[in-house]
């Protein structure tokens, strides 16, 4: 009994720490990355992974009540579905309204333009 709770505590703590790190990385990325599309990429991926890890970490602390687990699962499922969809819609809207991704095409012989 004690070992299970200890393991769950440690795992939960690690998951929380990992999730927080991912979120901090995203917040830093929005300042350091060069163009808008790279920033969307960083934010969208991290905003799905980070909350996922944090919610899993919270679930490790709440194994005594299935209601809480279900609700955490619902939040996780919702974020997994709507996070990428919002980012997709945002990127498409930005592209349609003329924001060009940075192109590295050189006059001749350079690397092809990044999409």
């Amino acid at each position: 009994m004690g070992v299970t709770t200890l393991v769950l505590d440690v795992v939960g703590g690690l998951l929380l720490a990992a999730g927080s790190f991912v979120l901090l990385a995203a917040a830093v990325a929005i300042w350091r990355l060069p163009t808008f599309y790279t920033r969307i990429h960083a934010i969208s991926v991290n905003d799905t992974l980070g909350p996922g890890l944090i919610l899993l970490g919270l679930a490790c602390r709440a194994t005594h009540s299935w209601e809480i687990l279900v609700k955490l699962g619902l939040i996780l499922a919702f974020l997994l579905i709507t996070g990428p969809v919002s980012s997709h819609a945002l990127a498409k809207a930005a592209y349609r309204s003329g924001l060009e991704p940075r192109s590295y095409r050189r006059a001749k012989g350079g690397p092809p333009s990044t999409p």
Partner: protein, 100 residues
């Protein structure tokens, strides 16, 4: 550990707010608002666990929903200038709709 996570999320929020105010294009701001909404959902869930009241998870779910709908509304407005129209999905309309 919970407190550390909460602190990390608050730092993220601070960085994001700065980005919201200094963002160059409107899409930067929309990105920030969406991300901020997700962080708030997490903050609510963490605060609920910290103060021992898991009822907050209902609120987190409501907020996740509102964040998504708000983002879609904002995107539709910036792309189309209105929120919904009668013949939005109608191919017989003559305009070339460029939607999000």
């Amino acid at each position: 550990m919970l407190s550390v996570s909460i602190l990390a999320i608050l730092i993220c929020m601070g960085l994001l707010i700065l980005r919201a105010i200094t963002g160059k294009t409107v899409f930067h701001r929309i990105l920030v608002i969406n991300s901020f909404g997700t962080k708030t959902v997490l903050l609510i869930a963490l605060l609920g666990f910290l103060s021992g009241r898991p009822d907050f998870l209902d609120l987190a779910l409501v907020y996740a929903l509102m964040n998504f709908v708000g983002t879609i509304a904002v995107l539709r407005f910036s792309g189309y200038g209105d929120l919904a129209s009668l013949d939005q999905n109608d191919a017989s309309a003559e305009e070339d709709f460029e939607w999000v």
